[in-house]
């Protein structure tokens, strides 16, 4: 409806303009440039290719069938020889370099020519998972597996306790990126499964590395001070804490653990205070009525009849009561009941602590002072304004979520997306019968008082075979101005590009997928991480190597929006140390906003046309006045649901006008 109206109007204008070319030769040539080749269409009206071409792709390791939509594959580069058959993992970026982690070390690529990345260094230094981050001249690499060695040897460690073992963070000097120099280690009790680098805006001397280590605690004989006891028994327990390493930028060899924040304390319990006089009165009243009630963690609780009956049986056994208990015995039982229940809470070994004892990954967003912690059965929101003392603001659990894996904020920090790596990534969790809420993303709005408010789930929608390990994994947001668009890895489910601007209705707008690596279940692979970096989407494929994609203009993401995203240039990128994207004023940015106002639709057609024509004229001829005029016009109309976007457009036009 909308587009036919648009074309009708546009056609009329062309005719009108064509008829006056003899009087004026200025506008005719400009009109085609002002009109988008592809009409923007709302994501609520997405028409994806049907039937989904991702279903039924032919298997193959380096020659699998593939399907692609709204993306373009610029290059696929197999791993260098020493890394073939070894797991590629996470990515970090510095200047034109891609740093690709691998269970056997680090691979460095130069992406100056994205159609043919140049191998710069393949640094053999085994340790899973080799999660990588950069800051300044430093490269950080995670080591967790039992085979990692301080000397980067490939022979593993064949004893339980080994002085050669590295579990923690390796630090390299990459002032010469092409020749990293291994300068320091920080060993930790649980090793480092992942880590995230925090650059505190108020501290230029240090960076902080948040270490998540979900694996077992190493023996004390190997690393003194490591304890796997429950924290109640040993306050130095390595469980129920994360590690924060302080790295002095001038002397990285002095990097050391600065704190071990216990961000999980009392997670199962709501905030407590002593019972109020009113509670005490109420409790006494209920007890007088004969109800099995007691105070627990600040609230009045009642034991269910079923459960009380079962506990009575246990009590009778313990007290050797045969037959019906007497009235006195019942009274004593009722007195003992609360203690029996409370004891149950702390009975099971690990079950005693109902909160998580580690995070899998933490995404730090220093510009907004928040971090998203994906921590076993919980998603946490943390205040990180004091880098060594993160404070938990909220924690959420979800019965559909198995294993909270990673977090991604929107650029404005108003929402956060958590992933569920159900099954650990090695299992096929995208089969037709697997529920769309399991192994998916969960999107939360962040409320004004910094709480997490659930909105919806998103799961890559194409069913995969039982031979393809598939579940939500790493991704990053793209700097598409005014929208929340993310590219994300789904292991052998490929990569999915989706829009979650409306947190309640995330929609897929692009993808790439390959067929299974093998159909007898051997091998394994798929996309570990795909991240946007300086205009391209870089994919770390576990077995197949490195893919680089570009975006293709489409009704749901126009060329202007893509061009605007390419105006954002970063010096480096760690996706779990999320940067805030900022867009320099550009014609691409203005046109992207116009496309979005057209798509929403937020303005009358005439206004959109006027904007397009005016911006085109200004771009072609440097006409500043028209920009000023348009800026004031847009600003004065900036009301309603789209006020924010109109204001941004007005500001952009104004900056362009100079």
């Amino acid at each position: 409806m909308k587009s036919s109206h648009f074309f009708g109007l546009f056609g009329a204008m062309v005719v009108l303009l064509a008829s006056c070319t003899t009087q004026s030769n200025m506008t005719y040539s400009e009109m085609p440039a002002a009109t988008p080749a592809i009409t923007p269409v709302p994501v609520t009206e997405v028409e994806s290719p049907a039937p989904d071409p991702r279903v039924g792709l032919s298997p193959g390791l380096f020659d699998a069938g593939d399907a692609i939509w709204n993306m373009e594959l610029l290059s696929t580069t197999p791993p260098p020889p020493d890394f073939v058959g070894s797991t590629n993992s996470d990515l970090a970026f510095k200047d034109n370099y891609i740093i690709q982690g691998n269970y056997d070390g680090v691979i460095i690529w130069d992406m100056t020519d994205p159609t043919s990345p140049r191998l710069v260094n393949d640094y053999v230094c085994p340790a899973s998972q080799s999660d990588v981050s950069v800051y300044g001249d430093l490269l950080f690499v995670s080591g967790e597996g039992l085979g990692g060695r301080i000397d980067c040897g490939t022979q593993g460690n064949d004893t339980r306790v080994s002085e050669d073992r590295l579990r923690g963070i390796r630090i390299f000097d990459i002032s010469d990126v092409e020749n990293p120099e291994y300068v320091a280690n920080v060993q930790t009790c649980r090793g480092s499964h992942t880590h995230s680098v925090l650059k505190d805006p108020d501290d230029d001397e240090n960076v902080y590395v948040y270490v998540s280590g979900s694996a077992s605690v190493r023996p004390e004989e190997e690393l003194p001070g490591c304890s796997a006891a429950n924290p109640e028994e040993d306050q130095n327990s390595a469980l129920f804490r994360i590690e924060v390493i302080q790295v002095p930028l001038d002397s990285p060899e002095d990097a050391a653990i600065a704190s071990s924040p216990r961000i999980f304390d009392d997670l199962s319990a709501p905030p407590t205070h002593g019972p109020s006089p009113a509670d005490v009165d109420k409790l006494e009243q209920l007890q007088a009525e004969g109800r099995n009630v007691f105070m627990f963690r600040g609230r009045i609780r009642e034991v269910s009849d079923d459960f009380a009956a079962r506990l009575l049986e246990t009590y009778k056994e313990e007290q050797e009561i045969v037959g019906e208990p007497t009235e006195d015995q019942m009274a004593t039982f009722k007195e003992a009941l609360p203690d029996m229940v409370i004891e149950m809470y702390s009975r099971a070994d690990y079950g005693a602590e109902t909160g998580p004892d580690q995070c899998h990954d933490i995404t730090l967003y220093p510009e907004i002072g928040l971090a998203g912690g994906a921590c076993e059965g919980y998603g946490l929101l943390l205040d990180i304004t004091d880098p060594v003392n993160p404070v938990r603001l909220d924690a959420v659990a979800d019965q559909n979520f198995s294993y909270w894996h990673s977090a991604t904020f929107t650029n404005d920090g108003s929402k956060v997306l958590f992933t569920d790596e159900w099954g650990g990534g090695g299992a096929p969790k995208c089969r037709e019968k697997d529920p769309m809420e399991w192994g998916a993303n969960a999107i939360f709005s962040i409320t004004e008082d910094k709480k997490l408010d659930f909105d919806s789930y998103y799961k890559m929608p194409a069913p995969q075979t039982e031979f393809e390990n598939c579940v939500a994994h790493n991704g990053s947001i793209l700097p598409i101005p005014g929208r929340d668009i993310m590219i994300q890895s789904w292991y052998e489910g490929g990569v999915s590009l989706f829009d979650w601007t409306d947190p309640e209705n995330p929609v897929e707008i692009g993808y790439h997928d390959r067929g299974p690596i093998s159909v007898d279940g051997g091998g394994g692979g798929g996309s570990w991480s795909i991240y946007w970096y300086n205009g391209y989407l870089v994919n770390s494929e576990i077995s197949r190597g490195l893919d680089i994609f570009d975006l293709k203009a489409n009704p749901y993401l126009t060329q202007n929006e893509i061009d605007a995203s390419k105006t954002v240039e970063l010096d480096y990128l760690n996706v779990q140390g999320q940067p805030m994207y900022e867009w320099p004023a550009s014609f691409a940015l203005a046109k992207a906003y116009v496309d979005q106002l057209d798509r929403d639709p937020a303005m009358p057609e005439e206004m959109i046309q006027e904007l397009r024509a005016g911006i085109a004229r200004a771009e072609a001829r440097g006409d500043k006045e028209v920009l000023q005029d348009l800026a004031s016009k847009v600003a004065s109309n900036a009301t309603g649901a789209h006020a924010q976007k109109m204001t941004k457009l007005a500001e952009t036009l104004k900056s362009l006008a100079g």
Partner: protein, 274 residues
Amino acid sequence: MKIKFLIATLAAVLLCSSHSFAQDTRDLSPAELEKLYWDRIEEKLSIYTDADVKFMEDMIIHHSQALVMSRFAPINGASEEVQVLAARIINAQLDEIKIMQRWLLDRGLDAPSVEYDGIESVITMLQPAKENDGGHMSDPSMDKEDAMMMRGDMDMEGMDHEGEDHSEHEGMDHDNMDHSMHMDHSDMVGMLSMEQLAELRDAEGPLFDELYLEYMIQHHNGAVVMVEELFSYDGAAQGVQTYKLASDIQVDQRSEIARMQRMLNERIVSSVEE
């Protein structure tokens, strides 16, 4: 087994020492690349110890019991929340069982497969394919020695592989089982006794919910302990696949224990207020 490990190590060292002569893999055809890939995968398969094998065998049996426990949920009137949990456990542990069976078969070892008839379990051994395509189900008319009825004590002796050292199980008492509520009724921590399984089978509704949660916490705790045990052996879990699998089981079950504890707390004590 130790020797195998050293050979693998040596192979890895040799491979890496050829580093400076490495050719660009871009010059290889897909077929050549693929051959290199599978050769490497093959080399890595040999990195394992007896403890790794024992872990896989035990965990398959351990996981199988979680399946039978969970299958009672829909027929015993479990709450929707517990049914969702049980469905998840079935889905997750079935997949992990397949991965562990595959792990054993890929290494040329027999892999246990557990079928349940009510609460009685029958273990059959899957045998690795001689030639190419991974494992296959052994013939149902197999030797009686290969199949055995498993009773409550879950005696594992029949599964030992010739020549392997399972001395870590010495001292375990398989004959004099105590079928009490304690967890020492089998050589695998956390396994439910026959009495507990029967109790679960007969429980209905809210009582089933509570029992299921309580027993599954016990069961999962056992898996967590089994992983800790694995990591305590010299040279164990050095293979990337083994380490990942064991770690994943540990973290998944820990998360699930926390979730179940939360659910159990809510059931045992309902809040009067709010």
